[in-house]
Structures are given as structure tokens and as C-alpha cells.
């Protein structure tokens, strides 16, 4: 297991303004995420975990602080450079999958490659290969609404991994699944998304899968209150 920091945050603070009021959601977070680990970001609703993950993957600017992803200070990049950085280095698995309903599963999985400029047919072939690793190659020609929830999630995972990103970010992947399905998804993610040169962060509050994590970070009121391999007793 590599100990090289894939993500390094220093003094990350994020404020939101609501009317006259300014709410500080994150309070100066210092954090190192290592490659080769399955890292959970855990916390109650409103603890700041969505804000934290958004900042770590370059889609939400911190009010203060520095975020380095594989050595690149991502918020020092221009807007276009940051978008390109995300496209080339980060894979996203959204809680609601956000698949495009009008294109088939393989084309959905191929979206990052198409966005990178790869020929559509070649990108689709690569996506089918990735879907084969996830055991859903036979569903490649189906539209998202012809797939079960689990199959849609695998398509979303294929889309996150097809362009071989160095950071995979996953939002509540087991929220809509029963316990055994949730564990299967986590096993699958560990199998395909965790690698020596790749970091994988999962936002979850599903205590049924806590035992599968390499590292658990607990956020509360915008601060990391626990950093370990297991959940603390009081949670």
C-alpha cells in the first residue's frame, strides 16, 4: 500500500452566505489522502462531507486554503485548465448515477472518452471493455431505463473508470441498496477502483459497509473528528 499523498488539503475553509448570514461549513481542514486506499468520508447530514468532497475534486472553490491533487494545486489552475484536469484525472460516481437516458449504457460509460475527443466508436469499444470487467458487457446496448438500479450503478462505475483517472470520487454508492448489494458494490469498487497509483474516496453514512474501508474520516460540524481504520465507538 502506497503512502504517497494523492490529495493534500491545507487550511481548507468554506463559507456559504445565506441572506445576511455567513455560515462556515468547513473549518480549516488539513488532510492527506493516500493512493491505494479505500477512504471513507463519513458524517451526519450537514457535517460538510459533500462540500469537502466537492472541494477535493475541483468542482467547488474553497473560501480559504490549498488543495493539491497528485501534486497540482488545482485552484491555482485557470477555469479551463481545472475542467481539463478533472476530465483527465478524476472519475465521478454520483448517488443518482446521472446517466443520459437517451443513449445506451456503453455510450454513457464512454462519455469521458468522448469528451476527451476520442472517436465515438473507439470510445464505445473501450467502454464495453470496462463494462466487461464489471460483468455488464451484455447490457451495453440497453438504455438506462432498461437496466436495474444495480446495473445502472455499474454503468456509472464504468463511466468513472473508463478513462483511467487517478482519483475516483464516489457519493453515497450504497444509499439505495440493501445490505448485501451494498457490500457487493463496495467489493467491486475495491476491486476496480483501488490501485497503487489511484486514490478512491467514498462519501457514505452507511454503517453496514464501514468494515470494508481502509481508512475512515469522520466529519462533524466542518471538522475532522476522527481519522482511523475503524469507526469510533460512539458512532
Amino acid at each position: 500500500m502506497s503512502q504517497a499523498p494523492a490529495i493534500c488539503t491545507r487550511g481548507v475553509t468554506r463559507d456559504f452566505t445565506a441572506g445576511q448570514q455567513t455560515i462556515t461549513v468547513l473549518h480549516g481542514i488539513d488532510l492527506d489522502i493516500r493512493a491505494g486506499e479505500l477512504t471513507y468520508l463519513v458524517g451526519e447530514s450537514g457535517s460538510g462531507k459533500t462540500t469537502m468532497i466537492s472541494i477535493m475534486c475541483g468542482i467547488l472553490w474553497p473560501t480559504e486554503g490549498e488543495v493539491k491533487v497528485f501534486g497540482t494545486d488545482i485552484y491555482e489552475l485557470s477555469d479551463t485548465e481545472l475542467v481539463e484536469f478533472r476530465l483527465n484525472n478524476i472519475g465521478f460516481i454520483f448517488q443518482q448515477y446521472n446517466l443520459i437516458p437517451a443513449i445506451d449504457a456503453a455510450s454513457n460509460a464512454a462519455v469521458p472518452l468522448i469528451a476527451q475527443g476520442m472517436d465515438r466508436h473507439e470510445a464505445r469499444e473501450r467502454a464495453v471493455e470496462m463494462m466487461a470487467k464489471l460483468n455488464i458487457a451484455d447490457q451495453a446496448d440497453k438504455l438506462p431505463n432498461q437496466l436495474s438500479g444495480g446495473q445502472q450503478q455499474r454503468v456509472a462505475i464504468a463511466r468513472a473508470l473508463v478513462h483511467e483517472p487517478r482519483l475516483v470520487v464516489c457519493d453515497e454508492p450504497t444509499a439505495a441498496l440493501d445490505a448485501s448489494s451494498g457490500r457487493r458494490v463496495m467489493d467491486l469498487l475495491r476491486e476496480v477502483a483501488v490501485a497503487e497509483d489511484r486514490a478512491c474516496i467514498i462519501v457514505t453514512h452507511d454503517n453496514r459497509v464501514f468494515d470494508l474501508a481502509d481508512r475512515i474520516l469522520v466529519l462533524e460540524d466542518g471538522k475532522i473528528i476522527h481519522d482511523g481504520t475503524e469507526m469510533p465507538e460512539e458512532h
Binding site: I59, L60, E84, I100, P101, A102, A115, V203
Partner: protein
């Protein structure tokens, strides 16, 4: 990404058809109404266009159009004939009359008296019969509007009419461009027309002039004005006056303008609403694309491609609809000769482009202001 954008659009069939319908409806309304407007306006010049051989029209200075004219004294004809550069000059009378058909129906008609000797003043083409029939007693030639209106489904040839208490026999059918009001027109010889229309001291409506050099018609008209004190206009000038008269004296431009504006507004409303709904339904997907790393520039191109596809299909259907309309009514004399001037599809295209640019921009604003981080919420 363009392919994905197109698939996103066509995959939502309901909204795609809604957008296409909006654009097609706007295009149809704008193109069809402008086409009718322009063709109706040109009817204001039909009296001039039906007499293709006259280079210059000479009239009383207060006369404005072929239908709004003040009679000249018969001496005007000789004055005009005496102007150098005039190859020929013939009398032309246009008057209103009432006609009673065999079945007792009453119809207001226009009586046009053409030169007895040369028959100049008749339309160029005949549908049935020949111009020579006017040499027979009490002969009139009816235009195709009259044929359809007064004798639907039957031939008018040989039919007798009571024209201002005088006997008239239809012996030919002229292929003429209908007037603005689609009034029935009866052509007869000048000398015969004087019998048909009520007597006043002066009854000569126009003097039709052929120029020795038709390319110098403008100079000839100016010379005629100088030497006779009458008003003389070239064929094109007089045709233009007929069109201007309709523009200035009827509510047609305003009414058609309102309809065209409504077509534009309805297009903006339907397309704007449907486009916004489409974007709203796909906002999560657009947000996901932005998070994944699709630039705003590519998103703009995606929305532009969607708008272009809708525009291409909708505009094509709208123009085809107008063509179908013109074609399906072409047998009706009221729409006889209607055509789509090439400028009108271009105007419609500009309107459609504006509709799509406006609605696309409004829809795009929602996409562009969507934060990628919204996909995690």
C-alpha cells in the same frame, strides 16, 4: 459531444416534437402570411400587369391607380399621339357596372374597354376563345375570376348577361391576374364599353402608350407630361403606385404585420417554454457532464447543435407547409399566380434564427450557471 446532444434531444420525443412544432408553426405563419401579403399587394398592380404591351400610362393628374382614376377628355388621345417618341397610343376605359345573370343574380363588375382596332388592353393569354371574338356584336370576354364566381362548374361561353340594361354575350375567357378585390372583369371593345357604362362628358380613363424605344419609357413619360400637362407614368411606376395605394389606404400591412409578429411571439413562447423544460429535465445530466470535465464551450456547442437541429427540421416543415398551402389553393382564382418571393424564406429563416438564438440563450444560461457541485446535492 454533438452526437450526445442530438441524442439527448431526440431521445425526449415529446419535447423534440414540441420544439419542432413551435418552429414549424412560426415558420408557416410568418412565411404564409408574408406570402399572402406580398401577393395581395401585387394585386394592386394587376391592372397594369394585365396590359403587358403598354410602356407608358397617361392619365388625369389626379388619377392614382387603375381603379382610382378620373376621366380624361377624348382629345387627350390626340395630344398624346402628337408627342415625339410615341409609337402608338390607344384609348382605355375602366368603369364599374352591375350585371344580372340569367339566373337573376346581381354582381358588381369592372368593364374594361380596349382599343377597337388593335385590342391593346386585353390580357396576353386566353383560357378559351380568341381576342377576335370581340368583333362580334355585344361580345364580352370574362376573366377567370368571373368564370368561377358567376358560372361555377359550367362554361360561360355563350351565356347572355344584362350589363347596365344592355345585352352582353360572353364569347371568351381571359387568363388575367385578379384585382386586389377579385372583382369580376368583363373586357370589351372601347366603343362597346361606352355603351355599357353610364354616359358622362368624359369617359376615357387612360391612354396607353407604346414607346418607339421602350428602354426610354421614363424619358418619354416625362416628355408627355411636359407637352400635354397630363400625368404619365411608366409601367413599373404605375404598378408601384397601385401597390403603394393599398399600403397607404388599407389596414392590410398592419393586420399582416400583427399576424407575423404573433407568429414570432408564439414561436418564442412555445420554443422557449419547451426548450426550458428540456434543459430543466436534463439539468442533472448537464451538471454531471460539467463535473466530469465538459467545458462550457462544449456545452454551448451542444445546445447550439440542439437548436440547429430543431431549426433545420422545423423551418423545413414550415416552408414545406407554405408550399403545400400555395399549391393546394392554386386552382382558386383568388390565389391565382401566388408565389413565394425568395426574400420571404430568408426573412423566415432570420426570424427562426432569432427565436432559437433567444430561447437557446435563455436555456443555456440555466446550464451555464449550474454549478457542477450541484450534482452532489
Amino acid at each position: 459531444m454533438i452526437w450526445i446532444a442530438i441524442r439527448m434531444l431526440t431521445g425526449d420525443a415529446q419535447k423534440f416534437y414540441g420544439l419542432v412544432f413551435g418552429i414549424a408553426f412560426s415558420t408557416l405563419l410568418i412565411t404564409q402570411q408574408l406570402t399572402i401579403f406580398v401577393n395581395l399587394l401585387e394585386r394592386g398592380a394587376s391592372g397594369v400587369y394585365n396590359v403587358s404591351s403598354a410602356d407608358v400610362w397617361v392619365m388625369d393628374p389626379v388619377s392614382r391607380t387603375t381603379d382610382v382614376s378620373y376621366a380624361l377628355p377624348s382629345t387627350a388621345l390626340d395630344k398624346v399621339r402628337g408627342v415625339p417618341g410615341v409609337e402608338w397610343a390607344v384609348p382605355h376605359i375602366r368603369a364599374q357596372a352591375s350585371v344580372r345573370t340569367k339566373s337573376g343574380d346581381l354582381e358588381g363588375v369592372a368593364v374594361i374597354g380596349v382599343d377597337d382596332a388593335t385590342l391593346i388592353g386585353l390580357p396576353k393569354n386566353m383560357i378559351e376563345g380568341s381576342p377576335d371574338v370581340l368583333s362580334q356584336p355585344d361580345s364580352v370576354i370574362i376573366d377567370d375570376v368571373g368564370m368561377t364566381r358567376m358560372f361555377p362548374g359550367q362554361s360561360p361561353i355563350g351565356e347572355r348577361l344584362e350589363l347596365n340594361d344592355q345585352r352582353a354575350v360572353i364569347r371568351g375567357i381571359a387568363d388575367a391576374t385578379p384585382s386586389f378585390t377579385s372583382t369580376v372583369v368583363l373586357y370589351t371593345k372601347y366603343s362597346q364599353a361606352l355603351n355599357y357604362v353610364p354616359g358622362t362628358r368624359n369617359r376615357l380613363s387612360f391612354v396607353l402608350v407604346g414607346a418607339e424605344d421602350p428602354s426610354q419609357a421614363k424619358a418619354l413619360s416625362e416628355k408627355i407630361e411636359r407637352e400635354t400637362g397630363l400625368k404619365a407614368q411608366t409601367r413599373d411606376e404605375f404598378a408601384r403606385d397601385g401597390v403603394d395605394f393599398i399600403i397607404e389606404n388599407t389596414g392590410i400591412p398592419l393586420n399582416f404585420g400583427i399576424t407575423v409578429a404573433l407568429g414570432f411571439i408564439v414561436g418564442v413562447a412555445i420554443v422557449g417554454l419547451t426548450f426550458s423544460l428540456f434543459i430543466r429535465d436534463n439539468i442533472k445530466q448537464f451538471g454531471a457532464l460539467k463535473a466530469i470535465g465538459v467545458t462550457n464551450g462544449k456545452i454551448r456547442k451542444m445546445v447550439a447543435a440542439q437548436a440547429a437541429l430543431v431549426g433545420f427540421v422545423g423551418y423545413g416543415l414550415g416552408v414545406l407547409g407554405t408550399l403545400a398551402f400555395i399549391w393546394s389553393f392554386s386552382a382558386n382564382p383568388t390565389f391565382k399566380g401566388f408565389y413565394i418571393p425568395w426574400q420571404i424564406p430568408i426573412i423566415s429563416l432570420v426570424a427562426v434564427t432569432l427565436i432559437l438564438a433567444l430561447t437557446g440563450w435563455l436555456a443555456l444560461r440555466n446550464v451555464l450557471k449550474t454549478e457542477p457541485a450541484a450534482v452532489f446535492r
